[in-house]
Symmetry: C2
Subunit: 368 residues, 2 copies
């Protein structure tokens, strides 16, 4: 077994989920994640925890939904009881084809989702962590060879997380103390946003940081009153379409003009969803330098080092301190778009430069 598989298991169990003796663990495994599942089972055993392993397959889920039709029972008792008695829920993605759900009618998918709200809440009440095992399917999605993809994935996952959490704490402190962020890049991006009264989240791939993805590595907050323009030069897949070079213009916090290199109509559709879809829900600063290329997987893409991402739509409640009277932007969508800030770019908070050409203020080589 590739030694990185065992390392991945240890990071997941110890750093991310903090599994301890006697914990009741549910391990949810994709069909091609078997190898990592075996390593996780060993590590969970070594920590003295109790293990139930569930199987997550796109083909199986598709077959069940197509067989069943829309009229699902709400929150089946056996599944709910499993989750309500679990301390930890580990999900290891490792599917064979991300398009398996593509021919399940939308109303069946929606009915299934709606029938599982209590289940979802019960899962979210555990110390849950999602990760992926690098599979051939993910390599294919990333347009990479399998070997190169594995190297990429482990570079992203096997970080010195303690150190990265410390780095990200610098950024969180600056955002928590600040009121206004300005992002400038080349000729087409000059955007200001208010972050007054918001709390940034240090997403350090551990439940101890209220962060539930492995890899993670971003600091994010909820901006408003956005003014100016921005170009997103990292490609992305939205609703199954490749979208490139999205250009947005904001006035009074709202998108007033847009363009894109490819599939501009997809951007238009998103903006038409509801009022909240025209406003930003997230400003995220990607700080995982193990992620250095777009692989068409949001788990990785949005944490890419030397990038900033903004999301149109729904904001996270975690960015609003307890007792805050501000309302989080609400929308049916949350669509992340990414811009590369490694060159010809800087970000200021309250007028002071925090990051220039990808280098942060507290790092060697920073030019203020």
């Amino acid at each position: 077994m590739d030694s990185r598989v065992a390392e991945h298991a240890e990071v997941l169990v110890d750093w991310s989920a903090r599994i301890e003796d006697g914990d009741n663990v549910v391990l949810n495994v994709g069909p091609d994640a078997h190898e990592l599942a075996v390593a996780v089972a060993e590590t969970v055993g070594e920590r003295g925890a109790n293990l139930v392993t569930t199987y997550s397959s796109g083909e199986l889920s598709r077959a069940y939904k197509l067989g069943h039709g829309e009229d699902f029972d709400d929150d089946p008792a056996h599944e709910l009881a499993l989750l309500e008695n679990a301390d930890v829920y580990l999900s290891i993605g490792g599917g064979r084809n991300p398009s398996e759900g593509s021919d399940v009618p939308a109303d069946v998918r929606e009915a299934y989702g709606k029938s599982r709200e209590e289940l979802r809440e019960a899962r979210m009440d555990t110390d849950w962590v999602s990760t992926v095992h690098p599979t051939r399917s993910l390599a294919q999605q990333a347009n990479m060879s399998f070997e190169a993809y594995r190297d990429f994935a482990y570079d992203a996952i096997l970080r010195d997380w303690e150190d990265l959490a410390d780095q990200m704490a610098n950024m969180k402190d600056i955002l928590d103390d600040g009121s206004e962020v300005r992002l400038v890049k080349g000729e087409d991006t000059d955007l200001t946003m208010s972050i007054e009264g918001r709390t940034a989240v240090n997403s350090a791939a551990s439940v101890a940081y209220d962060s539930h993805n492995l890899p993670s590595g971003e600091v994010f907050t909820a901006p408003e009153a956005t003014e100016g323009e921005v170009v997103f030069d990292v490609p992305m897949t939205i609703r199954g379409e490749r979208v490139t070079d999205v250009h947005l213009t904001f006035e009074d916090g709202e998108v007033v003009d847009y363009a894109a290199g490819q599939n501009e109509d997809v951007v238009g559709e998103i903006l038409e969803t509801d009022a909240g879809a025209k406003r930003l829900g997230e400003l995220g600063i990607g700080m995982n330098r193990g992620i250095d290329q777009f692989t068409d997987s949001i788990l990785f893409d949005e944490k890419m080092g030397d990038t900033v991402h903004l999301a149109l739509g729904r904001a996270y409640k975690s960015n609003f301190p307890e007792g805050s009277e501000d309302e989080a932007n609400d929308s049916a969508v949350h669509v992340d778009m990414i811009t590369d800030v490694s060159e010809d770019s800087f970000m200021t908070v309250d007028g002071e430069v925090v990051q220039r050409n990808g280098t942060f203020r507290w790092e060697d080589g920073f030019e203020g």
Copy 2:
């Protein structure tokens, strides 16, 4: 997909487990049983039942146990809650290597088993059914090509179960009404057993018949007071060893002499286990003519048509009618041994011939 996979799923869901709208189903899937699991998921969906899929892997289980060591928590709450809230438990065997557990220390395996008694009871309280998906590993175990093995497995599984249940009901009625069974074959087998006061089980691969294996296809009861000798000419694997042509001599219900063609010492070890190991616990009449060869898998072997099997050791409580004062033979072992009765052989119940050369009294071609 091979159309037989979908047929197998339908037999499992409808005939064996009798799954209905709203049932809470746990589907336990081996790593190489994916294809059947997809078909079962579709059928479970079509019946309007609710599905949780668990993953059963020898490699994963081995890793967990080796990591954990002996000190297991008893009956973890999340797994117990899942099973206690399940109506149906379907297990689809489809492992990759039956020897995966071979280097887990015996005391760890035993401790694990002992820690799961309530779990086992909760599972047995559901409408549970065990089947297997024909895999390359099972073909290997049977010394067969994969294609030939699949043909074999589906011949065994895709029976007209309603008709076979009716056939087996004839045999059950004869045994229920009878007092003494005599089995004669060639020169070396002439055995008499008392079955007075016993109830035979019509094991027709359905929870409706209190039968929990698919395939099944045997009628069995609990004999005693065995006298005479018997040769078991179908090979078998006992404790990892190939054992052939076991010859047992009984007096007063107890084995007084034994011999075997290969690995005679294994037979000796079994007989020395305890007092009950020298007595019979089961007389089973194999009636599944879809099973026509030994494949080194007890799920199939003991139901082979035109065979009779006897087990040394523990008897099943299901053969003792409620209120019976007879005690079931008790032992730590239950070892099935099989004899081919297709030629030069007959069986009588209370002196009347019931089966000759494999043909039953109620069948065409029977010669009394």
